[in-house]
């Protein structure tokens, strides 16, 4: 009885603030004027931005998440090798974590916009002769790269923080043993560190991927109407077009994609029970 009582507040919290709204959202997505219908999904898939939103969102996830993992791994390894000043480096690297998405988006907008810092520097270096548009609908590749870079800057730190905590838990004995047998640093990294880190990497990837699919403010600031993403479309349908049903349909799509991504990671990166600690 006691354990049940102890988890009751948590269950109540989840039920009231998560499960009920979730069920309501799903119901809203499948209803039009109070009757069950698939019309919201038809409107959504027939909208001119739907295809672009799906492609853009997956493109950003496919570019940003693997790069973030590689970068964060490299940074975590560098931190492990540091003798002094480890804390201060980690602290500086995690500054982007403390900045809001929208603020980060505006910072990058100030860098990449026509009269921004990037063009100013390029102009002084003699690379360009005047303001160049990087973020317009006519330069989709530059826009995609710009958003990917901003996303890298902003969200690599969360992967790093998770990996650093995982690295700290790794037992030193394996590495020392490998050292004794003359294994190169690269062999030690690929054969010892990476396999031991797998559960941590799995957690980091699930968190990061789900959040990347939900990216919104940073894209809104940099790309605006030129770079539709799924969550941005949900927002537009809710507030600009005031069609709550279609917004709910988008929310259901986001949920399904997130669930799908999580299941894939759980399956692909699973660690057999006998290998655990």
């Amino acid at each position: 009885m006691a354990p049940l009582l102890l988890i009751a507040p948590c269950l109540l919290f989840l039920g009231v603030l998560f499960l009920i709204p979730l069920v309501q959202t799903i119901a809203l997505a499948f209803q039009v004027h109070g009757a069950w219908s698939l019309e919201n999904f038809n409107t959504m898939s027939g909208d001119l931005n739907f295809h672009d939103a799906i492609v853009d969102t997956f493109a950003i996830v496919a570019i940003a998440v693997p790069l973030q993992l590689v970068l964060a791994l490299a940074m975590a390894m560098m931190l492990r090798g540091l003798r002094r000043g480890r804390d201060i480096v980690l602290w500086i690297w995690s500054i982007p974590l403390g900045i809001s998405d929208l603020a980060a988006g505006l910072v990058w907008l100030a860098i990449l916009t026509d009269q921004g810092f990037l063009n100013t520097i390029l102009f002084h270096l003699g690379v360009v002769s005047g303001p160049v548009s990087w973020l317009s609908y006519e330069t989709p590749t530059a826009l995609l790269i710009g958003i990917a870079v901003a996303e890298l800057w902003r969200a690599t730190a969360i992967v790093l923080v998770i990996l650093v905590s995982g690295v700290q838990m790794l037992p030193k004995e394996y590495n020392e043993a490998a050292d004794v047998f003359g294994a190169s640093p690269w062999t030690r990294f690929t054969r010892i560190t990476l396999p031991l880190l797998k559960p941590t990497i799995q957690t980091a990837l699930i968190l990061r991927t789900v959040l990347a699919f939900e990216m919104f403010a940073i894209v809104q600031a940099i790309g605006g109407r030129n770079f539709p993403v799924i969550v941005g479309e949900a927002f537009t349908w809710q507030y600009t077009n005031q069609d709550f049903g279609v917004a709910a349909a988008y929310a259901v799509v986001i949920m399904l994609i997130s669930l799908g991504a999580t299941l894939v990671y759980l399956r692909v990166l699973r660690t057999p029970r006998e290998q655990l600690g």
Binding site: L48, S136, R225, N241
Partner: protein
């Protein structure tokens, strides 16, 4: 933030409103609602008025409810109602407004444009409200662009064809696309299509949505867009790119260009939006003054409306509220130069012989956003994505028809009146 919070709290407290003196005339307004603006209205405009007035500002939904309650309870307190055209419209159907024909005749010397007076009839035979103040959308150009104006073109009577020639000439000379529109996520680009482009080319908005005129219009506009700054898709307020020099010729709501005009009045000119084959479509944002049936102080109400439509009062309104005169007003020499530019452009717009006022959509309720989306999606498909014009218009017309039937909204100006929902022909 703190000030805004305080304003919210104050607005939520009914007793924070100054208590009405029993003998004061009650003026209910949906405009100048924020506490600061309402206070300016009381201090600067109403205090010197010949009629002691209590100014009550409330949200638009309150007006019909309160008038109905007063009618049913047979205790009338409100003598003057000030609201936007679309907010006064529903009061005609409930027979809550007193006809103001005598007052209109009395004010005929003030120089209110006939088109605006006609709007004040709300489709009836009588004057239902007196135009009070207005805002609209205008064009602003950097003076550096003026040398490239096509030969024989009059800036104040520009056509879309001349605008096209002009911006092409600027592009040829500077190598940059210097025409700008507010097509960003928070921009008001949809109003350009609903109130300017469609009325100018087709004479309608809903009825003519997929007409051959509309087809020709979109083709021409896609041509014009070739000299438009591609960052237009991110512009929300044109004053910023105008001030930065990214754009030399821009279109937007006057309130969203005012900063540019105020900061650098010597660098810019302001002028009416261009005209097309069917006239100079423009979207007046018009507020009017009406007197409810059974108003307790009929005489005071007409005197107050008379006072509010005096040129001097209207100029003071422009200075305090950013809404502009509807009457012919000689601007004082010491008027802020930026404001003077804006007032001039608005006056020229409505005084132009081919003006075709086109109203904000009426009767769409919560479907307003979906209605705007029809025009923005057509723009995005035809102009930004080069999709075929005819097929796009036919496809979008289906969605438009659905909105009109669902809301049952009858046609509004510039479309010809309809019985029942406005048809897409």
């Amino acid at each position: 933030m703190k000030a805004r919070l305080a304003a919210l709290v104050l607005a939520a407290l009914p007793w924070a409103a100054p208590l009405a003196h029993a003998e004061d005339l009650v003026f209910l307004s949906t405009q100048l609602r924020p506490v600061e603006e309402a206070q300016k209205m009381r201090d600067a405009i109403l205090k010197p008025s010949p009629v002691p007035t209590t100014y009550v500002a409330d949200v638009p939904q309150v007006v019909p409810t309160r008038l109905a309650a007063e009618r049913q309870g047979n205790t009338h307190t409100i003598s003057v109602v000030g609201a936007l055209h679309g907010e006064i419209q529903p009061l005609v159907a409930t027979n809550d407004l007193a006809p103001l024909d005598t007052l209109a005749a009395q004010l005929s010397g003030r120089g209110i444009p006939p088109a605006l007076m006609e709007l004040g009839k709300l489709g009836t035979a009588h004057q239902m409200y007196i135009p009070w103040m207005q805002a609209t959308y205008i064009m602003v150009a950097n003076k550096q662009a003026l040398p490239y104006l096509p030969k024989g073109a009059d800036l104040n009577a520009l056509t879309f064809a001349q605008l096209n020639e002009w911006s092409k000439a600027v592009q040829a000379a500077t190598g940059k696309r210097m025409l700008g529109f507010p097509a960003g996520p928070q921009g008001l680009m949809h109003r350009f299509f609903e109130g300017f482009l469609y009325p100018s080319y087709t004479g309608g908005v809903v009825r003519t949505f997929r007409s051959p005129d509309a087809e020709a219009m979109w083709t021409e506009f896609a041509g014009l867009w070739k000299s438009v700054n591609p960052n237009s898709a991110s512009y929300n307020f044109m004053q910023e790119p105008l001030l930065a020099g990214d754009v030399w010729i821009g279109f937007d709501h006057v309130a969203r260009m005012l900063d540019a005009l105020r900061q650098k009045p010597n660098d810019f000119v302001a002028f009416p939006a261009p005209s097309g084959p069917k006239g100079r479509g423009y979207m007046p944002v018009l507020a009017g003054l009406a007197i409810p049936n059974g108003a307790p102080d009929m005489k005071g109400a007409t005197a107050l409306i008379d006072y509010l439509s005096q040129p001097a009062t209207q100029i003071k309104m422009a200075q305090t509220a950013g809404f502009f005169p509807v009457v012919a007003a000689t601007l004082p020499d010491d008027l802020e130069p930026g404001l003077k530019l804006a007032v001039g452009a608005i006056a020229k717009t409505q005084a132009s012989s081919d003006a075709r006022p086109s109203l904000l959509p009426i009767g769409l309720g919560t479907q307003g956003g979906a209605f705007d989306k029809i025009y923005l999606d057509s723009f995005q498909r035809i102009v930004l994505r080069n999709e075929p014009v005819r097929a796009t218009l036919d496809r979008q017309a289906e969605s438009l028809r659905k909105i009109m039937t669902e809301t049952g909204a009858p046609c509004w100006q510039p479309d010809a009146p309809s019985t029942g929902a406005c048809p897409v022909e």
